[in-house]
Amino acid sequence: MKKTGKRCQRLVDEGRRSFLRGSAASVGTIAAATILQTKKVEASNFPSNKLANVKDLKTNVPLDINYPDEDSPGVLLKLGSKVEGGVGPDGDIVAYSVLCPHKGYPLNYNDADKVFNCPGHYSVFDAEKGGLQVWGQATQNLPQFKLKISSGGDIFAEGVDELIYGRLSNVL
């Protein structure tokens, strides 16, 4: 069974549509750029953005978020067991960009394996291993958002550890 948030599923559908046009097709701007409002953000250090509260998360169900701005889609995920780099009371909350760092296709979360799959060129990234590319075409592992949790359980993103697809500066 795979579960994706509504927006995440929509991205997947968009990705499939462009995917079906074939890799050779000139697709220019699709997926993220056509779905999401574009908004210029002044270049600066990473913003500290509230993504959600711990209470909002259901185990192993990705929650759609955006970081560092609304044009960069990601998911917040409570994995259900502690992982390196995880935050929260159980050390199991992580967040990733969901644009494949190979060609920018929107990733699909597979909750059975806890991996992200790319419908573009079949890449697989492990949500429990810092986004390690299990197999795939990207030349980097999946960008992960650095998280911090307030005493009230609010989850903030405060940085990114790889370059997000489609931008030459993580903060535009």
Partner: protein, 808 residues
């Protein structure tokens, strides 16, 4: 944690950045790239850049205006630091902007003192002095090599000089460098004891098809977009010819090449491709094909390892019995068809028994290959690679597959072809080498075996690493170290600066069984541990380099940066050595001189650097037959006229070959299979290029694969008592090696698969020395036992062992 670069921003390519044509120098596919260079500090901006795009907003999927950190670096160009971005070329017909996980790292795989990448590159000639390898001048190093080589030839004749040399394209040679080395060893000298980078003799991996008259690269990639059926034998193309698969096979499976089919091939029925994979192992290629074409259009024929030939002969027998052959073609363009059919007769049930398939699977796959669609011939494209080439009975198996392709009229036709997929690009242009094969029966010397037996006095090694990429590697390394140590000990006895005394001491050591080893490479290969002289070479992009890809597409990679330190193109090193040894016809100043001396002069004087440069990343498909209207003119697919010439026969007929099943052919295999429990199948992974000579110093790769993986069925793991990531020893009577256990439920029980030629565990150590009649090794059919060495090392804790398969 997974390796992250923590790069949050890249310099933007400015308008006016220098743009160089680049063909990826790694695999056979040869994807087109461009290298953009510009002065450090002269970056473009979000609004003023080479793309003419507003980069202050998020770019969409497949954007041409994005590049990853792995594509960027700071390198030296004419002595100055410049930014470089090497990004895929959207207008190249080979890859249409796709980059593989190997080629899209070309930027960071360059030598950079600024960003500390690939500092392992050799910068200076080195000689063994004071008990270590020490930097020296070119004259000193070349002088020593020439003096010792001449002395050995004086003493033993030219058969005392052993050579291991690249003979391919891209980083594996190129027309300039194969000519330089070829002229030296095959023209100025006549060296018989010569071998190629991945096998122990000087031979083709596809003699079978060539003897039938069919060159192995006869199609164009577009044929895989046009085929009704694609038959893939022993090829894992999503991982090893990535963008040929993604850009040409996938559209056919998806149906997005239907318009092209209807337009180019009117008057016949068309449907998305059916796929037949012959491979004992389930691969990610098969997984992705099922996702694209639907499981109902994919047959995975998971044969017993090494039994391909029986399957092909059964196909041939069944197809002939149904009359699904191209009778007109057979009559007009071939010979010995009836003899072949009779000789190779194999029933469905016989083949089922040998291969482990069902008769229904064999029959259905034969129908997918040859049963006419309506009243038209089915167009089937046959491709094969190392599963066949490095598998059981290479020569005959190659013939059996080519028999089927030819009988069904699929050679030289759109949507057809019978081709190897390839490893490296090609770039062979050398003087005649027939003298190497003299003897009865004709076969080349088994060079590694001769070295192990103590033959030869001096060994020139050009970008080969026997320590990682040969068979019987355990024994080879043991003997090679011993023989080269004898010479090192003798060199230690000579006072400094006395060349005559040094050569005398070396020759004395050689007489005692020693071997003088010269290594020419871009990095210090593992075999260079034994070297007495190391010569630093430049690679593609540090020199202009021409090669051709798997559809014979020839292009020029333009020099975009300086070589490290004093490194030189191999052809220039060969030229220096030729001159130092007193031969004439060298003195090349540039790689272009070598190109003109060899390829240009030898192929009708049509192709020049300027003309190739003008053809850009789409180049021209060889053979180049003309230069017309400012363009080089090539040939889209070979044998369209039904004339076959690869065997060199005047009749130009395709010769069908009898190629009967004879079990495990290579000596020692049957006994090894009986004695040891596990099949150690082996091959590549998509993150890693070749033997990881650059990747071993690339953190993205070493983080993913700190040790070579061995895929094992979980029940086998239980029997041995190992968990994921544990280190195991793989051992048999020929040697031992190590690997990291990767649980793989899709693996058949007792059939493992290990990453080939990896520095931290060399599978060649357990491959026995058995070869075929033309000295082609059999790496794939290897059996060994497995025992636990250690629990998962701490350097493996971050590694994921989840399924590599894409799940919809």
């Amino acid at each position: 944690m997974a390796y992250k670069r923590n790069i949050n921003k890249l310099p933007i390519i400015p308008k006016g950045a220098k743009k160089h044509n680049v063909v990826c120098n790694y695999c056979i596919v040869g994807c087109g790239y461009h290298a953009y260079t510009w002065n450090v500090g002269a970056d473009g901006t979000t609004t003023n850049n080479i793309f003419g795009e507003n980069l202050s907003v998020q770019q969409g999927a497949d954007s041409d205006a994005w590049y990853s950190p792995s594509m960027w670096n700071i390198v030296k160009q004419n002595g100055k630091d410049v930014n470089i971005v090497i990004k895929p070329d959207k207008n190249c017909v080979v890859n249409s902007g796709l980059g593989s996980p190997r080629g899209a790292r070309q930027g960071e795989l360059n030598y950079s003192q600024s960003t500390s990448t690939q500092l392992q590159r050799l910068t200076d000639p080195l000689v063994y002095r004071y008990g270590q390898l020490q930097p020296t001048s070119w004259d000193d190093a070349i002088g020593l090599v020439a003096d010792v080589t001449k002395a050995v030839i004086d003493d033993q004749g030219e058969d005392g000089l052993f050579v291991s040399a690249f003979d391919h394209g891209g980083a594996g040679g190129g027309y300039e460098n194969t000519w330089g080395t070829g002229k030296l060893y095959l023209e100025s000298m006549k060296i018989k004891n010569i071998r190629i980078h991945n096998r122990p003799a000087y031979n083709s991996e596809v003699h079978g098809t060539r003897d039938m008259g069919v060159g192995e690269l006869n199609y164009c990639y577009e044929d895989t977009e046009l085929a009704d059926t694609i038959v893939s034998v022993g090829a894992n193309s999503l991982e090893t010819q990535t963008n040929a698969y993604l850009n040409h096979w996938v559209p056919n499976m998806r149906g997005t090449s239907m318009d092209k089919k209807k337009k180019q091939l009117p008057g016949e029925d068309h449907a998305p491709a059916r796929m037949i994979f012959v491979d004992p192992r389930r691969t990610v290629t098969i997984n992705s094909a099922e996702a694209e074409a639907g499981k109902e259009n994919v047959m995975h024929l998971a044969i017993n390892s090494g039994t391909d030939l029986a399957l092909f002969n059964a196909w041939m027998t069944y197809i002939d019995s149904k009359g699904w052959v191209d009778k007109d073609f057979i009559k007009a363009s071939t010979m010995d068809y009836d003899k072949m059919v009779k000789g190779n007769k194999t029933s469905l049930s016989e083949a089922a028994k040998i291969t482990g398939l069902t008769t229904k699977q064999i029959q259905q796959s034969a129908e997918w290959i040859a049963k006419p669609k309506g009243n038209k011939r089915r167009r089937t494209c046959f491709v094969y690679e190392k599963g066949l080439i490095w598998g059981n009975d290479n020569y005959r198996t190659n013939c059996s597959l080519t028999n089927v392709a030819a009988a069904t009229g699929n050679i030289g036709r759109p949507g057809g072809g019978c081709c190897r997929m390839g490893g490296h690009q090609e770039g062979y242009f050398r003087p005649a080498d027939g003298f190497i094969w003299e003897g009865n029966p004709a076969k080349p010397p088994y060079v590694d075996k001769l070295l192990i037996e103590g033959k030869g006095g001096v060994h020139h090694v050009w970008a080969c690493d026997h320590y990682k990429t040969t068979l019987n590697a355990h024994e080879f390394k043991r003997v090679y170290k011993k023989r080269t140590d004898i010479v090192k000990d003798a060199m230690n006895e000579v006072p400094h600066g006395d060349r005559k005394a040094l050569v005398k001491a070396i020759m004395g050591a050689i007489k005692k069984g020693g071997l003088f080893s010269v290594d020419v490479d871009i990095i210090k290969a593992d075999i260079a541990e034994a070297a007495h002289v190391i010569l630093p070479a430049a690679t593609s992009g540090e020199m202009n380099l021409t090669s051709m890809n798997g559809e014979r597409r020839m292009r020029l990679t333009e020099r975009y940066m300086d070589p490290p330190g004093q490194a030189l193109p191999d052809c220039i090193i060969a030229s220096k050595l030729g001159e130092a040894m007193g031969f004439s016809g060298y003195g090349w100043k540039t790689e272009e001189d070598a190109f003109m001396d060899g390829y240009h002069n030898g192929t009708g004087k049509i192709v020049t650097y300027d003309r190739l440069r003008a053809m850009g990343n789409n180049g021209v498909q060889e053979p180049v037959i003309d230069y017309k209207d400012g363009k080089l003119v090539g040939v889209k697919r070979l044998y369209a006229d039904g004339k076959f010439d690869r065997h060199g026969k005047d009749h130009k007929k395709l010769i069908f070959k009898e190629s009967k099943w004879r079990g495990l052919q290579a000596p020692g295999k049957e006994a090894q299979k009986k004695k040891f429990k596990y099949l150690i199948n082996n091959g590549r992974a998509n993150h890693v290029w070749q033997n990881a000579y650059l990747d071993r110093k690339n953190q993205f790769v070493t983080d993913r694969w700190p040790y070579p993986f061995i895929e094992m069925n979980p029940s086998d793991m239980k029997n041995i008592g190992v968990s994921e990531g544990d280190l195991v020893e793989v051992f048999n009577d020929d040697g031992s090696t190590q690997a990291m256990v990767c649980p793989t439920p899709t693996a058949k029980k007792k059939e493992t698969f290990m990453l080939f030629a990896y520095p931290t565990g060399v599978v060649g150590n357990v491959v026995n020395d058995g070869v075929n009649e033309v000295i082609i090794p059999n790496y794939k059919q290897t059996w060994a036992n497995i025992r636990k060495l250690a629990n998962k090392p701490s350097g493996v804790n971050h590694v994921s062992f989840k399924s590599k398969e894409y799940k919809i």
